[in-house]
């Protein structure tokens, strides 16, 4: 491993992209077989940090994502460990077949980083949003699909890549939001969900930005003696931690999923598949983008619009629990 050491201060000062760039540049020091590729997005994706450190192992392929992904496949065949970074919409859709057929089918060791995922491109609009990528990537056999909750988890996933063979997709946002973790020192294992908050009335299974929003919603509800909410960070969508999901269903009886993705095909669908197949009876609801192309706005506006921010999630908890949402009078003290 690349001798990574981040501090608590980094959590608040670095974006997800910066954690990614820094970590991959760090891994590059100890593993000379790592090569990096981008499609005219070295700066935006932050893979540029590796480009500056190791120019001879860095390849900007121009605005040609399909070619880039197949070139990465060729590099893997030649014994290299390629990391490819572009916007999530282009990684999953423009180059989708190349990812499936040239990387997943021969099970090549290529890591794909989709940045600016979900609605984080805000007023960039639908051409730049990626609310389908989890669904697309998880239907490719051999593919591992990850969605870090924040910057430090982004670093942990990239570190985990060093000991992981095969295709892996990591989707990150702009990562300007407050971090979900207050520590850099926790155990992370691909495929093993992390319970961020204990609770016995309802479980929220979330990924990405929605983890922090769900934690805040849980706190807010606790302040008003509302439902006691368990928050599960499902950072790996595939392979999915079915054990944690079934345990949550059994112990809390109600499951809410929250993701910055179309409610079709993503985390919510994956959790529903597990529950249905296990024959578990529980109340269940998916929060996400309701199968529409998003309106224009800044990301925070859009999270509010589609009710995947703290307020939206807290309301949804109360609705599914059939309780009234009590609000503290903010001006009271």
């Amino acid at each position: 491993m690349g001798g990574l050491s981040y501090t608590i201060e980094d959590l608040n000062s670095m974006t997800q992209g910066q954690f990614f760039g820094q970590t991959i540049a760090d891994l590059g020091k100890s593993d000379s077989s790592i090569v990096c590729l981008t499609a005219d997005l070295a700066k935006s994706s932050k893979i540029g940090t590796f480009f500056s450190a190791f120019p001879e192992r860095s390849f900007n392929m121009g605005i040609a994502e399909q070619n880039m992904v197949s070139v990465a496949a060729g590099l893997a065949l030649a014994g290299k460990k390629p990391y490819v970074a572009t916007f999530a919409c282009f990684a999953s859709m423009r180059a989708g077949e190349q990812v499936r057929t040239d990387i997943c089918y021969p099970n090549l060791n290529v890591k794909i980083i989709g940045t600016h995922a979900g609605l984080s491109m805000g007023n960039g609009g639908t051409t730049h949003h990626a609310t389908e990528d989890i669904g697309i990537m998880r239907t490719f056999a051999n593919m591992t699909v990850t969605v870090p909750a924040d910057g430090i988890e982004t670093a942990k996933i990239i570190q985990a890549c060093a000991n992981h063979y095969g295709p892996l997709y990591m989707r990150i946002g702009r990562g300007l939001e407050p971090p979900a973790y207050e520590t850099v020192d926790y155990n992370f294992k691909l495929g093993k969900a992390i319970t961020m908050k204990e609770g016995s009335d309802i479980s929220i299974i979330a990924c990405g930005n929605c983890v922090k929003a769900a934690m805040d919603a849980a706190d807010k509800l606790a302040d008003t003696e509302g439902p006691r909410v368990r928050v599960i960070n499902m950072h790996t969508i595939k392979p999915l931690d079915t054990e944690t999901i079934l345990k949550a269903a059994e112990e809390t009886g109600t499951i809410l999923t929250a993701e910055e993705h179309n409610i079709l095909g993503g985390l919510g669908s994956a959790v529903a598949e597990v529950l249905a197949e296990a024959g578990v009876q529980c109340k269940f609801k998916r929060l996400g983008i309701p199968d529409v192309f998003s309106v224009i706005g800044y990301p925070d506006d859009l999270y509010g619009h589609y009710k995947i921010d703290m307020e939206g999630i807290a309301d949804a908890v109360c609705e599914i629990m059939g309780v009234e949402r009590k609000k503290i009078d903010e001006d009271a003290d």
């Binding site: 981008t38 005219d40 997005l41 070295a42 700066k43 935006s44 540029g48 900007n60 392929m61 121009g62 605005i63 040609a64 399909q66 070619n67 919409c89 282009f90 423009r94 007023n123 960039g124 609009g125 639908t126 051409t127 730049h128 309106v295 224009i296 706005g297 800044y298 506006d301 859009l302 619009h305």
Partner: protein, 283 residues
């Protein structure tokens, strides 16, 4: 045409003044919008003004007029560059853009044909526009109509393989009613095109794909007018590619050829200094 100029001289004067006005509006819009693709917005101003005021057969009062010429902004990140032009020729009032980029606005970085009058196709993912234009041009042929399809591409955009798939098809289907225009400003997002992914010899590439080609000065109205007024008839068999040599960030000294101004925001002071530059610019 959407002007009343009686001769070339009047038209040159009219367009030259518009160049200054529109650039100022672009700068103001970048301030309002909180940021935008300003560099590539400023490089295509003369191309757009030539098209919308003089060349395209369009009616801003009737944006979906069936026999209109189509204009596809394949470099769809040109939202802040094209939207002020569409307002100027009368598709919508300028103040409709007051909430550009804001929550629920019809206007974002990449124009949406369902929300912005005058936009013939929603774009933003590079390398789609020329293929769409091929479809439109074949459609026009099937209906035996004489309208044309103009498609404006970025030079970096020409990295995309799909551009060349479309070029191959345009030649194969003998689409002389299709005109590709390349905004050859020499820069893409990460830097100069010849450094990131070289395109030259670009004209030879288009030629080899069967296009009638011409390289012109893309800020020079004499050349723009001469070229687009004298296009071969739409019934011609060869598609056309006009490569316009332009300057990214044209008119604003601190933006010209400066990669970081591909996309940027402006505070009031920076905007003021940009506008001072634009007042002094020559084409």
């Amino acid at each position: 045409m959407l002007h009343n100029c009686q001769n070339r001289e009047e038209l040159m004067k009219f367009l030259t003044k518009k160049s200054v006005d529109i650039r100022k509006k672009i700068i103001q819009l970048v301030v309002t919008a909180g940021g935008g693709h300003v560099g590539g917005g400023l490089s295509m101003t003369e191309i757009l003004l030539t098209m919308y005021y003089h060349i395209l057969n369009i009616d801003p009062k009737n944006p979906s007029k069936p026999d209109r010429d189509r204009f596809i902004l394949s470099k769809g990140h040109g939202g802040v560059g094209i939207c002020p032009v569409l307002a100027d020729v009368g598709y919508y009032p300028e103040d409709m853009m007051m909430d550009f980029n804001q929550y629920l606005s019809p206007f974002g970085m990449h124009p949406d044909m369902k929300k912005v009058p005058g936009i013939d196709m929603s774009t933003g993912s590079l390398g789609h526009g020329l293929s769409i234009s091929v479809g439109l041009a074949i459609g026009a042929r099937l209906d035996k109509t004489s309208w044309r399809v103009f498609c404006l591409l970025g030079d970096g955009e020409c990295n995309e393989g799909s551009v060349w798939e479309a070029a191959m098809a345009a030649h194969h289907y003998k689409l002389g009613n299709l005109i590709a225009i390349v905004d050859r400003n020499q820069h893409m997002l990460d830097g100069p095109t010849e450094k990131i992914m070289s395109l030259e010899p670009l004209e030879d590439k288009w030629k080899a794909f069967g296009f009638n080609t011409k390289v012109i000065k893309g800020h020079d109205y004499q050349e723009l007018l001469d070229t687009f007024e004298k296009l071969p008839p739409a019934t011609n068999e060869n598609p056309v590619c006009i490569i316009c040599n332009t300057v990214k960030g044209k008119g604003v000294s601190f933006m010209e050829n400066e990669p970081k101004w591909h996309y940027g925001g402006l505070d009031e002071d920076a905007a003021k200094s940009a506008i001072t530059d634009i007042d002094k610019m020559t084409l």
